[in-house]
Amino acid sequence: MNIDAILAQTMLGLSQGVFYAMLSLGLAIIFGLLNVINFAHGALYMLGAFVALIGYSYIGPWLGYPDFQMGFWWALIVAPLVVACFGMLMERFMLRRLYQFDHIYGLLLTFGVALVLQGVLSNYFNISGTAYPATPESLRGIVNLGFMYFPKYRLFAIVLSVIVCFATWYMIERTSLGAVLRAGQENPKLVEAFGINVPRMITLTFGFGVALAALAGVLAAPIYSVSPLMGADLIITVFAVVVIGGMGSILGAIVTGLTLGLVQGLTQALYPPAANTVIFFIMVVVLLIRPAGLFGKAEG
């Protein structure tokens, strides 16, 4: 196998890894502050893709303006906002009632929400997927990377995701806004005693984590077809990524997501039959050797 082929698989792995990274980052942020394992995360990723699809192909005719189409660039902004609003309502009126109980209740609630979202959308849309036709002209075609020809759109998705991930990391770990969030993860009661509205901060944080999932959904729409089950398929792998990286670590989520995408891509090149299972194999090994995850801290 020559070096070009390995580099090519690396790029393909990376283009998968950025989705793992964005989704596990959102999960980590939500878990860090809310202590909720958000099982609806995959469904909200799917919802992001559907907001983009509906905005382009359906909403105009529904509203009686057949010419109205929300383009891809608008979808990148609108879909995360719409899904974040949905997420914040979900936190405010459902999850908040469960914080006083065992974490398992929050997990079950979000799992239920995921099933409801999938069920409702399966009722109206094709389960096997609908193509998203609004990829902008400027992102179509291929670009020569020297060692391979690579789809322009995938390169764009990689670059944008990596920027978003590291901007999020910077905001949380290096700014004063992030300091409030980090403090809230450690001791929310004390942060509130200083006069900070922690319940509102929790709602906004959930909204932000969910918006990351929706943004990933919009980015995925032109690559994979938009289907009510697209999140359910992906989220299982993402949970494995989260287990490997360790729950709640921001940088851990990003690095693990990207790395495991690469590992998967390289496995695809070296031994294709193992490509779909390699992440779960790593998960088992990590659980046995370091149960808190590579970046996680064991609970005292």
Binding site: S176, A179, V180, R182, A183, Q185, E186, N187, K189, L190, V191, E192, A193, F194, G195, I196, N197, V198, P199
Partner: protein, 234 residues
Amino acid sequence: MAELLRIADLNAWYGESHILHGVNLSVNEGEVVTLLGRNGAGRTTTLKSILGLVDKRSGSITVSGTEVIKQPTHKIARLGLLGYCPEERGIFARLNVDENLALPPKLGDDGMSVEEIYDMFPNLAERRRSMGTQLSGGEQQMLAMARVLRTGARLLLLDEITEGLAPVIVEALGKTIRQMKERGLTIVLVEQNFHFAAPLADRHYIIEHGHVAEVVEGHEADAKRERINEFLSV
């Protein structure tokens, strides 16, 4: 002197445990008041109840004339211009000294500037980039105090600030409290160290079994020493 804090018939619960059984006390502006008592008597719970950090509470808590018992914690802090130093100090491990200091939002206008604070606590100035957990116990306590001084809080709730600290640091803390008093701040001090509290306080409330067992004015403290020791001895 205007009354800044008034607690009447305060009851508080953690889960099913009924901890406070009708606490009454009042603190005037500019006073230093201590809550003395044994471990588990309800002193810390009294402070936490003021901020709404217990599971359930009843009775009345007024700060500057405003009833706050039904308010959420973050509003109480702002309404009352409260500054809270918890018993466990509450220094955030994932934040460095500067970030810990800057964390609480400004409540009033006359808080100390960061420069003034680092003048007051030169040890902290040398460790501005250190993470919270890398500080010694004394440094953490200094930081916990410095943190509330920056916010412009008018009423400080300080829980066991001398616990487990070397005598020289306890002495420094006593000096800090005198400086705060000179600035016109009002202080409620939960203490076990009567030796530390006696020269600082205008009044002592002795808490036992979740209510105020005895009130001792500062000038009576020496005369009533035996009586106080009876309450504090294990």
